[in-house]
């Protein structure tokens, strides 16, 4: 019971740290405060969701920098960090409460009794789903390949050795899978082990359902802020929460695999880039939305890279997609867009720089080294894998929709229902992003040193899970933006 209490307090501490950061980045500019510009005001859901998501990122970064500095981890450190988080979180919520009381008009509140009741119903369902996901996660120990061989193993070594500079982790023959894989998950799990003072690979999974909740709340908050459509935002947030590939599929958010967290961070990145482009395409958009969205997207993209190496590909795809959209739609605002893009890239680099500095000393046993393998000869050799990979993806996305969810069918139907909306900048960005991600998966299958049937066959479902949030955002954008 004490362990559970510590896990609960530890989670609150992480949430508190994240809330403070989220409150800072989401605060309206002074100009916006004076004008009470509607699109600039963030919903409480956005603050809570982004707080939860960024809390786990900041927690891992804190431990990483502490470890790089050569300092030892200890229970005292974990308890102090947790206490600081709880105090900061409580103070942030108090400040938020005071400021919301001062506001006389709240444009985001539902306008009718019907909308209010519908919102309560959705909130009830979302809470029920979150509690159920949390419970399902905590009654299953870590039991899959990646969660033990890659992430769980590192977290236990970090906890037991009280450092990330462990001789074992630096040894090429120490038995661990992918020594160079990022440490966001291991460091968060090590934080819980430090709080408990022992390893319990069931309780340390608490971060996964919390990231699920954070992702759904951020999705809801950004849709509310951007579109001002309360009822539809809630409905699409519920749809995101019920994608079967995310929950309750065993490899989704109820397991300790990295695919759930990367889906969360990647979806948050896409949300803020989407929100940025959406605001950019509206003549009345408020400048603070344009200023903060690339900043938050950069933070989140950095956390995606710090979760799993797929994050690097997602970051590059984000950049390429946004450059294409800029070239097509915003040529007259090229400088302003470039500055925003630089802000996005710069924030990502800031977040991942400590990790890459540490990563350079880690052994490369079992690393696939995709970027080194991207050569014409390797690609040519892999052409035969292309038709198998495309057929396989088609089957998983459409023919097996009953197992993994209707998101790909819904995406196609939404695209066909509103083709003109799909070529608006923010929607085209998402389409390019999804196409780019699918192309990246196929190329990875072509160049990987394993048979494509094993590589793509084993990873495609988890990869599709990672981009399902983007698909869901596209679907929401199609049906919501059309009604603007």
């Amino acid at each position: 019971m004490i362990q559970l209490l510590l896990i609960l307090l530890g989670s609150l501490g992480i949430w508190g740290i994240g809330l403070t950061l989220a409150q800072f980045v989401l605060r309206p500019s002074s100009k916006a405060s004076q004008t009470k510009s509607v699109p600039a005001k963030s919903d409480l859901a956005e603050l809570l969701g982004l707080g939860l998501v960024s809390g786990f990122g900041v927690n891992a970064l804190f431990y990483l920098i502490w470890g790089i500095a050569g300092l030892q981890y200890s229970r005292g450190l974990a308890l102090s960090w947790m206490s600081l988080g709880i105090v900061l979180g409580a103070a942030t919520l108090f400040v938020r409460y005071r400021s919301s009381q001062r506001e006389t008009a709240d444009a985001l509140k539902p306008t009718s009794a019907a909308e209010r009741d519908f919102r309560h119903l959705c909130l009830g369902i979302l809470l029920f789903l979150s509690v159920s996901t949390l419970f399902q996660t905590l009654i299953t120990p870590q039991r899959f390949w990646d969660e033990r061989a890659i992430f769980g193993l590192k977290s236990i070594v970090i906890f037991q050795e009280a450092t990330i500079q462990s001789d074992a982790l630096l040894d090429p023959d120490f038995v661990q899978y992918h020594p160079k894989y990022p440490l966001l998950i291991p460091l968060n799990q090590a934080h819980f082990y430090l709080l408990m003072g022992e390893v319990n690979d069931r309780w340390s999974k608490v971060l996964f359902p919390l990231l699920y909740l954070g992702m759904v709340l951020t999705f809801l908050g950004v849709l509310l802020r951007s579109t001002q459509q309360v009822v539809r935002s809630w409905l699409f947030a519920l749809m995101l929460a019920t994608v079967p590939a995310m929950v309750p599929w065993e490899y989704g958010f109820i397991s300790g695999q990295a695919d759930g967290p990367i889906a969360c961070f990647h979806t948050v990145t896409l949300l803020y880039l989407w929100s940025f482009l959406y605001a950019k395409s509206l003549a009345s958009s408020e400048s603070s939305v344009l200023a903060r969205s690339p900043f938050i997207a950069g933070l989140s993209a950095g956390m995606t890279i710090f979760t799993k190496d797929e994050g690097i590909a997602f970051f590059l795809i984000d950049l390429i997609a946004i450059v294409i959209v800029t070239a097509l739609y915003f040529r007259n605002q090229l400088i302003a867009l470039l500055i925003s893009l630089l802000q996005f890239g710069f924030m990502t680099v800031i977040v991942v720089a400590p990790w890459f500095s540490h990563r350079s000393q880690l052994p490369s046993t079992t690393e696939m080294t995709y970027f080194n393998r991207m050569q014409i000869t390797t690609l040519t050799e892999g052409v035969s894998a292309l038709s198998w990979a495309i057929k396989h993806l088609f089957q998983v996305m459409f023919l097996e929709a009953g197992k993994w969810g209707l998101q790909w069918w819904a995406l196609m139907l939404s695209l066909c229902a509103f083709p003109k909306t799909a070529i608006k900048p923010h929607q085209l960005f998402l389409l390019l992003n999804i196409l780019g991600a699918l192309a990246a998966l196929i190329i990875a299958g072509m160049i990987a040193p394993t048979p494509v049937q094993e590589h793509i066959g084993g990873a495609s479902l988890r990869f599709l899970l990672q981009i399902s949030g983007g698909a869901m955002l596209f679907i929401a954008g199609q049906w919501m933006c059309e009604q603007d």
Binding site: I139, R143, F174, V175, M239, T242, P248, T366, A410
Partner: protein
Amino acid sequence: MSSLVRLILILLAIVSIPGLVFLCLMPIEFFQSWLIERASPDKYSQFAAHEQAFAAVVFLRILLPVIAILTITGFCFYDRLVSFLTHCWSALSALTLIKGKEKRDTSRTLLYRLLLICWFSLGLFHFAEGVGRRLEDWPWYHFHSGPFIMPNISDSNREVIRFLKASTPENSRILVLSDQKLFFLSYYLLPRKLFHPLHPESEFVLPKEFQQRQLKAYRLAELDEAYLTRISPDYILEYYEGSDYLEKERFKEDPGWIQFQQSRHGPDFQPTYNVRLKKVNPDAKHARSPQRVLPEQGVAP
């Protein structure tokens, strides 16, 4: 809406209240016997049925009172409930109504509603399936942590982990020569550190269950002195299961392994794969020096 809500509440009351009374009056053994009779006769299925019946009854003993309380609350606040559901229904109808430039866009409205119905029906189905899956898992997982149950690994891996836990002190360094991927051994044996020189031809090969895919591996004789000095192990474990590396004449070479297995499975235990654990000379093990004495092959500890 009012009569529909009343009908649903009556149905819920019919299911939950008598169901709850039945569940509370009947002992858990009644349900366990019922499920065991319908399970396969093998011992694993019988065990699973026994535990799953327990989990299902406990789950229903929590769920049914909640439904009963909600149903009674629904009857108590009937007017408010009807008003609430009417509001939700009207909000849902309004939000799924797609309007064109001048009038209602019927085809898109239908498409949208059909999509939502399919989506949430599928979500409900998967939610129920997830709950069912947790009940299926319960016999093995209970509330135990991973190291206690060591889930999803082969029986032989599990035996070797138990043997090493019993035979080696914590914090020891163990060099393993094996044709297995040893990630789970490494995970469950921490803080013991396992070192495994991975054969280059096995680096990216995924193993298959029951040795259906033979992985290339090093033998102890293939390692040079410099390598052994660098790793500086406290123990050396040779563990081979694949046909390319099995040495039947050496199955019983390590008396420690045989004794451990006999203590667990009885004196008639016959090993079917090679496990040999050797302690490295303790006087020189940390020295990383030329004086360190390595065991000769085939010599039992």
